[in-house]
Structures are given as structure tokens and as C-alpha cells.
Symmetry: C2
Amino acid sequence: MNILPEALEDLIESFAVLPGVGQKTAERYAYYLVKQPDNTSAKLASVLNNLKSQIKQCPKTFALISSSQSESDLYSNPKRDKTTIAVVAEPFDIVAIEKTAKYQGTYHVLGGLISPLDGISPDSLHIPELLSRIIEDRVVEVILATSASVEGESTALYIQSRINEQNPNIKVTRLARGLPIGLDIEYADQITLSRALENRQSF
Amino acid sequence: MNILPEALEDLIESFAVLPGVGQKTAERYAYYLVKQPDNTSAKLASVLNNLKSQIKQCPKTFALISSSQSESDLYSNPKRDKTTIAVVAEPFDIVAIEKTAKYQGTYHVLGGLISPLDGISPDSLHIPELLSRIIEDRVVEVILATSASVEGESTALYIQSRINEQNPNIKVTRLARGLPIGLDIEYADQITLSRALENRQSF
């Protein structure tokens, strides 16, 4: 005997696959939609149906773009400096960097970080395409904007050595490591603090 | 210039209406679905599309049931004792009580709790239907299984007085208030502790 109707059980199950969503949260989402007018769940359904058909990867930068576009705006826009490339792991990292409004170059999405335990080798990332872009667009600087994790650091080191092999004159940089804004020194972890000390900046 | 394709922005916006979901969480859900094979988002879409057409309210208990059913299994099942009704605020409360496997009576969903500030008056709840069921099914006990909040308590008091007016011989009970299992006395709040003391139980 089912306590809940099958359609509701199915919805709870589908919500529960989302990252960080357990049974209770999935029930809460499902029940919220049940209580809303019909068009709330219908709208979410149509948006989900359109998702895969309306987005694709930019062939140059591997950012997510609309199916109607040929290249990412952040690449095709003449205001963007094509001789500087910020290399990021995932498409959403671009959003975070764009929000700073401090960067005028282009992007290159790797599609992940090297992680042998998860079966992600350098071959499964968009590294050859990056190396071709460096030649094609006469790139002068590559910023390795990967996270400060073990995977992020080792991916950055690997790409840096590949770029160096191809052309040692290209400037390869990475994001500064140091104290995040607002953090008291006493709460900073040892590694962050020792990096901040090593890379101390002059006024 | 959009950083993200419109289909993705739409999906993030639709997820952000769910309770407790902010911009960051919505982005995380959306990006998870982008990375999954096509059928993950298609499945969620079809489940959402079916939601409203495949569920309805039981005309007796106001629990959620499949459109193909005429009454809730928890009511029509001859093993359930129709002379005992547990009155709950929302359909999901039934799931919580059923999980205890300690209850063999039927349910009645109010559809909310009396809350003048939110515009929920006694008239917007399924109270008249409860009063008719009490006569119809020759009910002997009504358990007011509302939460221990101000709204839950005042709704229980209101219904208790309405039942009393109609037939003072019906036993009206409510869920015991006391220490939750696993809680140390030192961490119990004053109201819970004073209720537990007032309603102390003999061995």
C-alpha cells in the first residue's frame, strides 16, 4: 500500500538525485510544487525539456552557449583581448570571474581537473584545443585559474609544463594564493598563511 | 551580453523559487543537470508535467491520492479503523505518522493551520468535512495531531471546541508533549520541560 501517490513518489525520487538533496529536502520541494498553481511545475518542466536542445559548448572556449550562437560572446566580442586566456575547470567558473569585472581577456574551459582516482586523465580535458588556440590567437599570457586544491594545483602544473614545451616565451601565471578578504589571521589555516607569507606583496 | 545561455538562466531562475534554494544552490542544480546525460533532465521534466494531472485530493480525507483512485487507501482499506481519526495539517504529516507503524485509524488533512496573520481562517480549512465524517463514520476518538506551535495549538483548541459543541461524548485527544527521545534534560527548552513535568507519566 502506497502512502503517497506514485506521481509524487516519482517526483521526490527525481529531486533526490540533485547534489546535496536528501529525502526530506526532495519531499519539501515536491510538496511545495503540489501546493503551487499548475503553471509553476509546468514552467520548470518546459525549461528542463529545452535545456539540452538549447545549449551547446562553444567550439573555441568550451563555455556553455545558446544553440543559436556559433561562438561564445566572451570570445567573439572584439572588446575581449584574445591574447590573454584564463583557463578554468568548469563553465560556472567563468561567471565568478566575470562578476569581478576586472578581466578583459578570453576563457578556456577544461571540462574538469586531472584526478586519476576519479578516472580523469589529461586526455579527457580540452588541453590540445588550448595549445592550438595559443598558436592561433598569438597568445601572450595564460592565466591558470584553477582552484587551490590538490587537483587544481596539479592540473595547473601539468598545463604549465605543456605550454612551456610548446613555446617557452609565453607568460603562464596563476591566481594569487593568500588570505581571503575578511579573514582574521588567527583563523587562517597553516597552508594558506604560509603561502601568504611566501608570496608577500610590496605596497 | 549574457554570460550564460538563456536556457540555463531560465532553469536557474525556476529552481530558485523552490523553498530554501538561493542563487548558488540553483546554479549547482542546473549545472549538475547540464553535466548529466539527456535523460536525467527529461525524466524530471516528464515527472513534473504529470504531477498535477496524476494526483488529486481524496474527497473523504483530503490526503493526496492518484487520479485513478476514488478514495485514499488509508481510508478505504477495511483494516483501518474508521472510528478513529487523526487530524493533521498537511498531507506529508500522514507519511510521518505512518512510518511509526503504531496507528491503525484513518486521517483527515486540514490543509493548513489557523493563522490570521497569513490570512488562514477556520473557514479555509476542511473542518466542516471533519464534523460530517464524525457523524457519518460513528467516530469515537479524534486525535488532533497538529504540531506543538502556536498555530498548531490554537487550531487544535478550535477544533476541539467545535467537536464538543456537536457531540460532547466524542473523545478528543492530542499528541503528548514532552522530552523528545535522545535529548538531554539540560538542553531541553523551558516550555518543553515544564510540559513534560505537568504531563508526567506513571510507569
